[in-house]
């Protein structure tokens, strides 16, 4: 039993296999001799990332090298992924500081709320994307690691300049 397949009545110019083949071969040949060069040779060349790129976090520090964070607890509160672990402490002068400050970058959704909410401009998203690690555990960045990172931090979105210009 033969299978009957519907064939739409298209004009010959569209339905002809020959013309389509020759046209296609001309096109591929054009691309071959004159390729659109779009490849970026990654480790050697990098595309610039947007100033608002939200990558792994950085904790900024004061001049004497201590984290700016005052342990106010706003970022763990606002974090929708619940991935910031904060244990605040207080020293003899009554300055609050984080005893434990850990961000699980695996659970983080990189929403940037922590940076927006921070009253001390301490925690920041980073313009950085090379985050490979050998174990899951090493994706939990502690305070030491967060302060030691040096990559540029991202800018917040400015409502008066929505396109970022």
């Amino acid at each position: 039993m033969a299978i009957t397949v519907k064939v739409l009545n298209r004009p010959i110019a569209e339905a002809s296999y020959l013309r389509a083949t020759l046209g296609g071969m001309a096109r591929t040949f054009k691309h071959m001799v004159n390729p659109h060069k779009v490849t970026v040779q990654y480790p050697e060349m990098r595309e610039p990332v947007s100033p608002r790129w939200r990558g792994t976090h950085r904790m900024l520090t004061t001049e004497d090298g201590k984290a700016k964070c005052v342990g106010c607890g706003l970022c763990p509160t606002v974090c929708p992924a619940n991935c910031i672990k904060l244990v605040p402490g207080e020293d003899e002068q009554g300055n609050r500081y984080p005893l434990v400050f850990e961000i699980d970058e695996f659970r983080c959704i990189f929403c940037g709320y922590c940076q927006e909410v921070c009253p001390e401009e301490a925690i920041h998203m980073g313009r950085h994307y090379e985050n490979a690690e050998y174990s899951r555990a090493s994706f939990v960045y502690d305070l030491e690691r967060l302060t030691a990172q040096t990559h540029p931090v991202s800018q917040l979105w400015d409502p008066s300049d929505p396109a970022g210009e």
Partner: protein
């Protein structure tokens, strides 16, 4: 000892074929080793060329990391394939499973034994033919051997004991049978014209009468399409068809046994390209000059003709890749209908036309080497190609073409579609 073997009492004319046993044997072995080496290196480089060309066509860069400009990729791939683990499916029939990759590869290579790749080379011991074995029945040999290649694929598919592999193997054999006939028929035309099955005389015939591609264009077109089907290259790579059959006949293969299949595919491509240039593009003949086709043979002629032959083969290899990265795969029924409903009738009719014309021209007393003979055949061919292309263009022969939709039926379907609940709601 060797000295004794090679020194000869009498003076030997370098323009007569080698007759002594030892020089002949040793030179043949040298030719075998050289051809095998060049062939294998060429095949390895082809895999690289394929990746590069596909990359360029797709606006990519392709392998460019290993050694100079990525040429080391060939070595890296080879080493990787040797180091990988060989797996054997539990249900496979081991003996054939191991034998199949070799069976796929060997016929492609054996064909090269009879392909003349340059004009004869004069040596101290006589004239050396530039084919490993200059068989008097060279052409029949290539036909016989090249159809053996399918066994590797069929056995690979069958012995893996995997349904996709089996389907791939079956498709391969069906496809091979369908296109082998058209291919054989198209070469009948060449043999009619050459009047000989020795590959060197086919080259000579083309040197005197003009290349077969202009004398037998329809045969060339059919042969060309059939070689793609025979080598399982796109658009005819039904046996592999990864979107339908995982990887077809080599689904179960791993490591070096797997890479024997791609290697044999490329080996087949080289052989098919060589045959195409030999049968239809004059082999090692240089066009528009007879300097290279007449004695006395010199080393220079050998080198130049070798270069010309290499250029032709490389051009066809490039075409293989060019077409692969342009055309999508046929559907299986399209493949069959193209083979049986288009190519076979066309080539059968063409054989009759060519045979009749040759008979008529011979009866009219027009010499085969004369300009008039070439001219008449050429004119006839233009007409044939014109008719064929016109029919192919109009006939939509690659659509399934089972039932063309009548316009009444079409409007009925459109109405059904417009009444459908899925149609966009207009108004309120």
């Amino acid at each position: 000892m060797i000295q004794a073997v090679f020194s000869h009492g009498g003076v030997i004319d370098p323009q007569t074929p080698i007759e002594d046993f030892w020089p002949f044997t040793i030179l043949t072995i040298v030719k075998m080793v050289v051809v095998f080496t060049v062939y294998m290196v060429g095949v390895a480089l082809l895999t690289f060329a394929e990746r590069k060309i596909s990359a360029w066509i797709q606006d990519r860069i392709g392998p460019n990391r290993v050694l100079w400009k990525g040429f080391g990729q060939v070595l890296a791939d080879g080493v990787k394939n040797f180091m990988k683990e060989e797996t054997y499916p539990e249900a496979a029939y081991k003996a054939l499973f191991i034998l199949a990759p070799m069976l796929a590869f060997v016929p492609a290579m054996v064909t090269w034994a009879v392909i003349p790749f340059a004009s004869p080379l004069p040596t101290r011991w006589g004239l050396m033919s530039m084919a490993v074995a200059d068989l008097p029945v060279g052409f029949l040999f290539t036909l016989a051997i090249s159809s053996l290649g399918v066994y590797g694929i069929v056995l690979a598919g069958w012995s893996s004991n995997n349904k996709y592999a089996l389907l791939g193997g079956l498709r391969s054999s069906a496809q091979m049978i369908s296109y082998e006939i058209a291919m054989g028929m198209s070469t009948v035309c060449v043999l009619l014209l050459a009047g000989n099955v020795n590959l060197n005389s086919i080259v000579e015939q083309q040197a005197t009468q003009g290349w077969n591609v202009v004398l037998l264009s329809v045969a060339f077109l059919v042969f060309f399409v059939a070689t793609y089907a025979e080598t399982n290259r796109l658009p005819f790579d039904m046996p592999e068809a990864e979107s339908e059959l995982i990887a077809g006949y080599h689904t179960e293969y791993s490591a070096m046994k797997f890479s024997m299949f791609p290697i044999s595919e490329y080996a087949n491509m080289v052989t098919a390209s060589a045959l195409t240039s030999l049968l239809f593009f004059g082999g090692w003949d240089i066009p528009f000059t007879t300097w290279d086709n007449v004695p006395p043979w010199t080393t220079l002629k050998t080198i130049v003709t070798l270069g010309v032959f290499a250029i032709k083969v490389i051009f066809f290899l490039f075409t293989f890749m060019w077409i692969r990265w342009t055309l999508p795969r046929f559907r299986y029924d399209q493949l069959m209908s193209l083979g049986w409903k288009v190519m076979l009738p066309a080539i059968l009719a063409y054989v009759v036309i060519i045979a009749g014309t040759l008979l008529g021209l011979d009866a009219a007393g027009i010499a085969r080497s004369s300009r008039a003979f070439t001219g008449i055949l050429f004119g006839l061919n233009l007409a044939c190609v014109g008719v064929l292309l016109f029919v192919l263009d109009r006939g939509r022969l690659l659509s399934p073409a089972q039932s063309r939709l009548k316009s009444a039926e079409l409007s009925r379907l459109r109405q059904v579609a417009s009444r459908s609940t899925l149609a966009p709601v207009t108004g309120d």
